[in-house]
């Protein structure tokens, strides 16, 4: 017999924990909570305004506005379904198998299925809150442009609530299957191959079609028709996103019976998969958890067999990584050891390289495809605008990564202070080495992408040099800011880097990084010698570029120096 209320107890205790977390955050730092709220409200308002203006613009296309809006909605839900699925897979894996609460609950008289139910609901909430934040302003903007009655919003909320269940169930099952079959290394390689295959597939499917200027001007309908054919996959009737989009669109059109039909299809699937998941997954989940706690999956045994009988080389031979780092000149052995350690941790942490790969991979795929537009981009204004937008996108990607991975570095090293802090290397040199490593690695990506962007836009060498210098300075600043603030706002209690980032320092770092990027792009655009109306005056160039340099020093170098001083004081205590 199940202990009565075990699930209720888990919900209650975790809700209490969450509430305490918020109330303690409010008590400790009203500034942080205020900043977070302001950022959330600002983001919602800005995205609502952008969506509203965008949808209004699309509506102005005579005879095509509604069709394009509908297709956009189908596409949006289809892509969000895939994103939710991936998000659920990763969060479910962590929450079900790498979570100490799960292990604790397994030792208590709680049925396995109840533990799974609780972890499933927790994972769903964690995986989908950002999705809800993203979609709410869009649906509000859509409703306003289509002048829908109030009940549209209520129905949409219910439909979205149903919609998020399906990717969560599939994500949780995929996580269980992966945990059962794969160890960390197999998982990494599998995800990498899957991502590469997905990118290649997308690049092939969405391969831009070259149009002549003439066809763009005279055969708009033909061009649009081909674009609509390419995106028709989003209207495949067996996709849950299709049921969701159709229910929303039909409700907007007041075709309530059709809307109810698609809502019923969605509901029946949610009930079926929800039932299978919440009633029958307990023992499968326990088997997978046992496999994970038994150090490896089914595939890991094969590797051991392949290695069986071979002498253990771990202690004797320098790895390829160590030999490679040893070739870098003017690096002392202790710094080399720290670099090798950080690179190993980077590779072994799927989240770090996975996010880097996804963010810069997508940007790279987009920039490579710029060549398809280069014949249309003959106007200097558009070339300039696209180049600056690329600079902004590249820096925004970098800011996300520096905040997420560079900022918590000092806190994490402080936790392991007995290794690095007490070594003759010293904390100040350790932090400097980490900064140079992060700067060097990220510069390879950002400078490479910006040079590629300039090349694809057929820019001359002098302009490539200008943008190259700009991204180098921005990469230095963003890394300096994250390293410096990480040292100024350390958190030695947490071992989880994502929790370190979610504190005041991490939030401050992210917001400051975004503001810096915005300010820098404006200053660089003002100071760029190549204006829309020809070359700019030297005074203007001096003002813009000088302002950018001073701004970069203030935002990047100053926190870095202050952070290093703080580290030096920390070491003397």
């Amino acid at each position: 017999m199940n202990p009565p209320g075990a699930f209720g107890l888990l919900v209650r205790i975790n809700a209490l924990q969450t509430w305490r977390r918020f109330s303690m955050a409010w008590q400790h730092s009203k500034l942080w909570v205020g900043t977070m709220l302001l950022a959330a409200v600002g983001y919602t308002a800005l995205s609502f305004w952008l969506f509203y203006r965008g949808l209004k613009f699309i509506e102005t296309f005579p005879g095509l506005g509604t069709l394009l809006t509908e297709r956009l909605l189908f596409l949006l839900f289809a892509i969000l379904f895939v994103l939710l699925l991936l998000s659920s897979l990763i969060i479910s894996y962590t929450n079900l198998f790498k979570n100490r609460e799960t292990t604790f609950l397994f030792s208590l008289p709680i049925p396995r299925i109840v533990i799974f139910r609780w972890k499933f609901i927790e994972s769903t909430l964690l995986a989908s809150w950002a999705f809800l934040l993203l979609i709410a302003p869009l649906l509000a903007a859509y409703g306003l442009t289509r002048h829908v009655p109030w009940h549209f919003y209520a129905v949409t909320v219910a439909l979205v609530g149903l919609f998020i269940v399906l990717p969560s169930v599939l994500g949780a099952w995929a996580a269980i299957a992966l945990a059962r079959l794969m160890d960390r290394r197999s998982f990494q390689i599998g995800i990498l191959l899957l991502a590469l295959a997905a990118l290649a597939g997308l690049a092939f499917y969405f391969k831009p079609e070259p149009f002549s200027d003439e066809s763009l001007e005279t055969r708009v309908l033909s061009v649009l028709d081909r674009m609509l054919v390419r995106t028709r996959f989003a209207q495949y009737p067996l996709l849950p996103s299709y049921w969701m989009s159709s229910a929303v669109l039909n409700w907007t059109e007041k075709a309530l019976v059709s809307s109810a039909f698609f809502a019923a299809v969605l509901l029946s699937n949610v009930l079926l998969f929800g039932f299978l998941s919440l009633v029958y997954s307990g023992n499968i989940f326990y088997d997978a958890a046992s496999a994970v706690n038994s150090r490896g999956g089914l595939l890991s045994g094969w590797k051991r067999k392949a290695r069986a009988g071979q002498p253990n080389q771990n202690l004797h031979d320098a790895s390829f990584l160590e030999r490679s780092v040893a070739r870098i000149p003017r690096i002392l052995p202790d710094q080399r050891a720290l670099i090798v350690k950080d690179l190993r941790i980077f590779w072994r942490d799927t989240t770090q390289w996975g996010q880097t790969f996804v963010l810069f991979g997508l940007l790279g795929a987009y920039i490579i495809n710029l060549r398809q537009f280069s014949t249309q981009l003959s106007n200097p204004f558009w070339i300039n605008l696209v180049a600056f937008l690329n600079l902004g996108a590249c820096s925004l990607n970098l800011a996300t990564l520096t905040t997420r991975f560079v900022f918590p570095q000092f806190s994490l090293e402080g936790k392991r202070v007995w290794v690095v802090g007490l070594a003759p290397l010293g904390l100040v040199r350790a932090v400097k080495t980490k900064f140079y490593l992060a700067f060097g690695l990220s510069l390879c990506l950002t400078l490479g992408l910006i040079c590629l962007s300039c090349h694809m836009l057929n820019m001359e060498l002098s302009r490539m040099f200008f943008f190259g210098c700009a991204i180098t300075a921005m990469t230095f600043t963003l890394n300096g800011l994250a390293t410096g603030l990480g040292a100024l706002y350390p958190n030695f209690r947490e071992e989880n880097p994502s929790k370190i980032v979610s504190g005041f320092g991490g939030t401050f770092c992210l917001i400051l990084s975004f503001l810096y990027i915005l300010g820098s792009i404006v200053l660089l655009a003002l100071g760029s010698p190549w204006g829309a109306r020809g070359l700019r005056s030297p005074e203007m160039i001096m003002l813009g570029v000088g302002g950018f340099v001073l701004f970069s020093i203030a935002v990047g170098l100053w926190p870095l120096v202050a952070g290093l001083k703080r580290v030096a004081r920390f070491e003397q205590i």
Binding site: P3, A6, Q17, R20, F106, S107, P109, P111, N293
Partner: protein, 252 residues
């Protein structure tokens, strides 16, 4: 009360636990010793149902931990070497939570929590958030919450780590009292003095095998030596290590 029957756990080709069979009677205080990576924690994880054995079975109070997990866990309490606690809760809230999970009524939870908190000097901390407590205090909170429902079997993995000498003494006294009262205690430790002082019987696990089991005197006889448990332990594990070294190794 605790039965391990031909318990085997393999991680790929590596055998972490190799056919351990053992019975610990009701009210017995059993200590398991062994070098690092001998298979003690893996055995405990199988015993508590956290991982599945490759073969063999484990029983708690007559209930198989794999096929009758709920019945087994209702009679079991387990404190791992690094226990999980909800950081934002207070110890008092955590005790209520665990008590309710074991279907205890509020009056019994209150009475047991008061009594045990008094024994472990936790009263000043009952209303404070767990995240602010020291390692030793957190360890005491975990022990009190485990004992709250009066388990029939109490399994502890390195319970003395982080405890100051005073509270280590309190824990030993409480465990002895509980054992005398009929609770079966199964403790894994590296502190030979704890096993020597407290245990009715001691088992030594080495390379995944239970190489010796018995009272302190019986172990001394098996080792063929005199003196403290430390000497006995070192002799037995060294003998076993030499035996393994003398076995023909597979050719590379």
């Amino acid at each position: 009360m605790i039965e391990l029957i031909e318990l085997v756990k393999k991680f790929g080709d590596f055998t972490a636990v190799n056919g351990i069979s053992l019975t610990v009677e009701k009210g017995e205080f059993f200590a398991v010793l062994g070098p690092n990576a001998a298979g003690k924690t893996t055995s405990i994880k199988m015993l508590t149902g956290l991982i599945k054995p490759t073969s063999g079975s484990a029983r708690i109070a007559g209930f198989d931990v794999q096929t009758q997990p709920l019945e087994a866990r209702r009679r079991l309490a387990y404190v791992p070497d690094f226990p999980f606690l909800y950081d934002k809760l207070t110890p008092a809230e955590f005790f209520r939570f665990t008590g309710q999970l074991f279907q205890m009524d509020n009056a019994r939870i209150k009475a047991n929590a008061e009594s045990l908190s008094g024994r472990f000097n936790l009263e000043p901390y009952l209303g404070k958030a767990i995240e602010g407590l020291s390692h030793g205090t957190r360890q005491r909170v975990a022990i009190v919450s485990a004992l709250l429902h009066d388990p029939e079997v109490f399994i502890l993995d390195e319970p003395m780590v982080g405890l100051d000498p005073h509270h280590a003494r309190v824990l030993k006294d409480v465990l002895k009292e509980k054992s005398t009262g009929g609770m079966t205690i199964f403790i894994s430790t590296h502190q030979l003095s704890v096993a020597e002082e407290m245990a009715d019987r001691i088992g030594i696990i080495h390379h995944g095998k239970l190489i010796a089991v018995g009272t302190r005197d019986e172990l001394r006889q098996q080792s063929g030596g005199e003196g403290a448990l430390e000497q006995t332990f070192l002799t037995l594990t060294a003998v076993e290590a030499n035996l393994i070294a003398e076995r023909p190794q597979p050719k590379a």
